[in-house]
Amino acid sequence: MTTNAVTVDHLSKKFRLYHERNQSIKSAIMRGRTSVHEDFWALKDVSFEVPEGSTFGLIGSNGSGKSTLLKCLAKIYYPEKGSIGYKGRVAALLEVGSGFHPELSGRENIFLNGSILGMKKAEITKKFDEIVDFSGVEQFIDQPVKNYSSGMYVRLGFSVAINVDPDVLVVDEVLSVGDAEFQEKCAQKFVDFKKAGKTVILVSHAMGAVRSMCDHAAWLSHGELVSIGEAKPTIDAYLNSLNGAA
């Protein structure tokens, strides 16, 4: 009997499409209103469950609501309706290196970024060597990160994030960071993650990656769930629909 790591229950998320938005008091008063808008439902009544220990892919075309769903899962957006239930600690990897301070050294930024991602200081200290090792920037760890190459910057950010060690990891299109060697390391890390019984939810347009990594997938289109199930049939159905439309 497997339990569900994440339960998404009738989730709906609304955005306002502004035709007129008065973000200054003057225009708000002159026009007598703060905005004219219509509602746009980016997610409509989405429900699914992610079994514990599985790798779950979200697929769909641009604008289908994948990222919105991911941000709801990461607790950055709050849904209008429905709820999301978690089991265990959730970490989201929507962007790497968020909160790095360019003038501070790599070492200081590891501690800063780690605590933004919810790690305790003792935890970071314990994993410090591992993080530095994984990022491959040992030599420059005491340099300010503004002097890092963009690859080094991203690798360091990713190393911190991957070491948060959550029960559920929510990942946006960040797998494509660094050079081939680093990508290899990342892929290995995800395999380890899975072996440790952790759950991963990822969004990707790289169908090859989704196919090789995920057990289950959900296909979203215009904010609605089209199909959900085993990864391969879902991906095939999605790709077929694209070809059919073309």
């Binding site: 955005f15 973000q23 200054s24 008091i25 003057k26 708000a28 703060t34 941000k71 990461a74 607790k75 950055i76 957006y77 709050y78 989201a92 929507l94 962007e95 968020s98 909160g99 301070h101 003038e103 501070l104 200081e108 501690f111 800063l112 605590s115 933004i116 991602l117 919810g118 305790k120 200081k121 300010p144």
Partner: protein, 278 residues
């Protein structure tokens, strides 16, 4: 309750963000942290020149300390004010300044404005330390009053964070807030007895008596300003070296609690929509 727990759980993050501000602030400057002293010193010199030597303001000597140095008298009010002002203005912009973070990572959002209080407060402690040394050198006996000075400093910090929480949210919805507040702050400073003694206001108030046939005097209205009490308590303790009236300290505490409660309530109400509204 669960919210308090959550904020308490992010205390390490709060400490780290505060450190980020403190460490990052004076990087790549030759004088480093000394810059934090330059602003109050420059203000002190300007105001002393203009108000002491040109306009000939003479605040009463400290009673019972006997201090009669305009610059020190000024700083006892000016340092708390500059702290208050920069907490409110920087804290107000803290959500916007960290928009990237708010939109990408989940954490307790309140740590952003609170970390500003921490980093500005750190500079303030440093400045107050220097002022303390100066006061002692010129013969003030401040030691027994220090614990209460710290308490009032904390109260002022709470008051300032309450305002900055509310304004940070307002600034997300209306970007005018920041420009508006910078004007308000200028007026507010001159409505607070920082660079002139309150006795001058008392004189005017007595000269005019009750306004519009009522018992309300100019002084009554003037004293509605919460900063007026704070400044007077700081001067009592640091410059005069005597215990301030209990009512004054209580009033400061009430203002601090009220401002923080309202600020927190507004912040909590809007917290969930922040990532979208930015």
């Amino acid at each position: 309750m669960s919210y308090i727990k959550e904020v308490f759980a992010s205390r390490e993050l709060l400490a780290n963000l505060t450190l980020r501000e403190i460490r990052g602030q004076y990087k790549r400057t030759i004088f480093g942290r000394l810059w934090s002293l330059v602003n109050p010193l420059a203000a002190m010199l300007t105001y002393t020149l203009v108000f002491r030597f040109i306009l000939r303001l003479t605040p009463a000597p400290g009673d019972p300390s006997g201090l009669d140095i305009f610059a020190l008298w000024l700083l006892c009010g000016l340092l708390p004010w500059t702290f208050f002002q920069s907490v409110v203005t920087t804290g107000m912009g803290s959500l916007l300044a960290n928009a990237g973070l708010v939109q990408k990572v989940y954490f307790s959002r309140i740590v952003l404005p609170l970390s500003v209080v921490g980093s500005v407060g750190y500079n303030w402690l440093f400045e107050m330390g220097v002022l303390l040394v100066a006061l002692v050198l010129f013969g003030a006996f401040v030691w027994p009053f220090l614990p209460l000075v710290l308490v009032v400093m904390v109260l002022l910090a709470i008051f300032a964070s309450g305002l900055s929480l509310a304004l940070a949210v307002a600034n997300i919805h209306f970007r005018d807030t920041q420009y508006f507040v910078s004007i308000i702050m200028q007026i507010w400073m001159y409505l607070t007895p920082i660079i002139y003694p309150i006795s001058l206001v008392q004189d005017q108030s007595d000269a005019h008596g009750g306004l519009f046939g009522t018992n309300i005097t100019i002084m009554n209205i003037y004293q509605l300003n919460p900063l007026e009490r704070f400044v007077s308590v700081f001067r009592n303790l640091l410059y005069d070296n005597r215990w301030p009236p209990v009512n004054d300290v209580l009033l400061c505490a009430v203002w601090a609690a009220a401002a923080f409660a309202i600020g927190l309530w507004i912040f909590r109400k809007n917290e969930k929509g922040l990532a979208e509204a930015l």
